[in-house]
Symmetry: C2
Subunit: 410 residues, 2 copies
């Protein structure tokens, strides 16, 4: 998909595109920590907006308010806190609207053009007081290179900030896309994942922006899994402010295709970062599925393998236990002729094939150990049944994952 | 279900019913261990037989052979090894048939009346040599109180033997049912679970035996989960040899209902034992779901909660993180009005309610900690939406689970 267009990596995250400022600071939502917990992103002008949300029937209050705010296809700012999900609280909607009103006061963006995000503990009331006390300071901190502070402020159990940005050309005009993401546990998206805020200076209509976002979600954020738990607050939102000056994209065509390819590159990049930073993860796992009869089969099998606790634990231990890969393929919700399946492992440590025609083949345990000792492992599966492919991202299952989640609230 | 009938707990496992002998010994399938790895169960007379198997598309060779052997509705013996699953091997069928032939030689049971089971590593050829060398010794060891040795011989990562047996009356005749089970990892049954061998001296036709078994599987073995991985070798098989002398059950009626109730009691008992001994488990979790609009909803929600890695890790840490329970209810594949949901935790340490109408309620963290400190925890969920209920069994997610599975083969 990316081979046909020139997609250039650039720096700057959500501030890489023209006309976006961002900031992040510590306001004190969780008494016990002094980490940054409040982020603000503002576009200089009103922007086309699109979003996708969790399919969990329990939805965080910020999602309800955001959905309402961007129902007209436009937005201009994002306010997001970490440390509290503002979910399953009686006053949730009220608090989310209050966050939006405070952001509106200091940015002069209409409150109905503000996207709200919250992430953290479910079911504990979110106090507006710390947010109110620091909102002016936050607005004063807004800057055209503030992406990194915002990325830090939306982290919870994440161990690294997640930012990415790319540049393309649309009808001869340079156009940029950028994003920040958070997500480490409760990662098993279905329609969206955790919190991802994307920006672009492309001129594109709200309808085409939503179309592009929705088209690529199944190939990117819906293909990662850390622990099989679909969060209540998953949101991917994008703002396109048009400041790049390209002819507005209002239908399909070359510019739309280029934009979609760049969006795919940006979202795939953030997916890898989220999976690699899965709670407790020591290794990034990428399942590359080829030879499927149809695309749905490719997606289902790749996702099932990446979700298997036993495969994840084996990768942690550097154990080339391909039987568990085959077992997961077998219980995936897709039609697969298991007697044709080929499995291999690849990393900077080399490439080793362990299974052909659904049965084990002799391989050197020593070589396999070298392959699986790496920090990024590719699980290669060829179904030898067609030409469709898919990629899924996950991470290993470690002692640290258990430690983090056995004692999250305290 | 069990209240209406008198179901008495008795000792003896698979040998509790009349006319069943069993044995187990170490034959040396895995060079590195001296644990018992070969089991034999024999009925004095030919018995009605029924079985259910995994839905995994990758199926162990023993399942194929067993299916074939009991297709006529009858069986008389079980041979089962641990240490190697005889799955994904080119010569799998041949080896399973050879096991059956060896058992036939020493028991004089027709080879086509033998049920074969194998459990352990997938994809490593199973050598028939150690089985051949010890089969005579195994037959000589058969005894009417050998259930415990057989239960031990089918264990893999299990830490305790799993046996149960019950007595009922059918038309005035005392009738017994017994069983042994193994299962600790790769436990997420769909139609069946790991290896469970049941015996009864009831007289019941093959058709009614299969009907009873199939009727209760969705309520018992399909409601447990240790790690979300559906095994390739799951099998539940039952033999009914008729030696109790009750009038043969050939259709529905009071005797069938009593038999079904006793079978439910036996299978539930084994379910609890399997879940409590989940790999690395320190706590048995029972999710008791009430107030569902329909039975399918009850089953789906209970199973989803018991499968959540985050709920399991929270229970390990004794953390009353009910938000994760609500989150799992929210992503379960069922229609639920989350604003009506009530959640509580119960154990020998007491009872604490933490959520009503889908929102948090004040509770004492100290009391909650006491409840969650117990070795058996009940997660009580009332959907307040009807009268249907279901129970699911699972275990906590611990450091030990990761240790076991990071290094299974070595």
């Amino acid at each position: 998909m990316t081979g046909q267009f020139k997609i250039k990596k650039v720096f700057g995250g959500v501030c890489a595109p023209k006309g976006f400022r961002a900031a992040g600071l510590h306001c004190g939502i969780r008494g016990t920590s002094d980490k940054k917990d409040l982020a603000l992103i503002v576009s200089d002008v009103r922007a086309s907006a699109a979003a996708v949300y969790t399919t969990n029937k329990v939805k965080g209050a910020p999602l309800t308010v955001t959905k309402n705010h961007i129902s007209d296809g436009y937005a201009q700012a994002v306010i997001c806190n970490s440390g509290n999900a503002n979910t399953c609280n009686a006053d949730g909607i009220e608090i989310a609207e209050a966050m939006s009103a405070l952001a509106s006061d200091v940015t002069h963006v209409d409150s109905s053009d503000i996207i709200i995000g919250s992430t953290g503990v479910i079911g504990e009331p979110l106090s507006i007081a710390p947010i109110r006390s620091k909102i002016s300071e936050l607005a004063e901190a807004l800057s055209y290179d503030g992406s990194s502070d915002a990325a830090e402020a939306i982290m919870t159990t994440d161990t690294v900030k997640k930012e990415a940005s790319f540049e393309i050309e649309l009808s001869g005009k340079p156009v940029r896309l950028g994003g920040i993401a958070k997500g480490s546990g409760m990662i098993h998206p279905n329609m969206a994942t955790m919190l991802v805020f994307l920006t672009t200076d492309a001129a594109i209509s709200p309808a085409m922006l939503q179309k592009a976002l929705s088209a690529d979600i199944p190939e990117t954020f819906n293909m990662i899994s850390v622990d099989g738990d679909t969060s209540t607050n998953d949101t991917v939102a994008i703002m396109a402010n048009g400041l790049a000056g390209n002819p507005e994209i209002t239908g399909e065509g070359e510019d739309y295709d280029t934009f979609l390819a760049a969006l795919h590159e940006l979202m795939s990049d953030l997916c890898r970062r989220i999976a690699a930073d899965g709670e407790g993860a020591s290794k990034l796992l990428t399942c590359i599925l080829t030879g499927a009869a149809d695309h749905e089969t490719a997606r289902k099998v790749a996702k099932t393998v990446i979700c298997s606790s036993l495969v994840k634990a084996a990768m942690y231990g550097g154990d080339a236990n391909w039987g568990r890969v085959l077992c997961a393929i077998g219980y995936s919700p897709a039609e697969v002729d298991v007697t044709k399946v080929e499995v291999g492992f690849r990393s900077t440590g080399g490439l080793v094939y362990v299974c052909r025609d659904g049965a084990g083949i002799p391989f050197s345990e020593e070589e396999a150990a070298k392959v699986l000792d790496a920090g990024e492992i590719e699980i290669l599966i060829d179904l030898h049944d067609g030409n469709e492919s898919a990629t899924a991202w996950g991470c290993d299952l470690t002692h640290e994952y258990v430690s983090i989640n056995a004692d999250y609230r305290t």
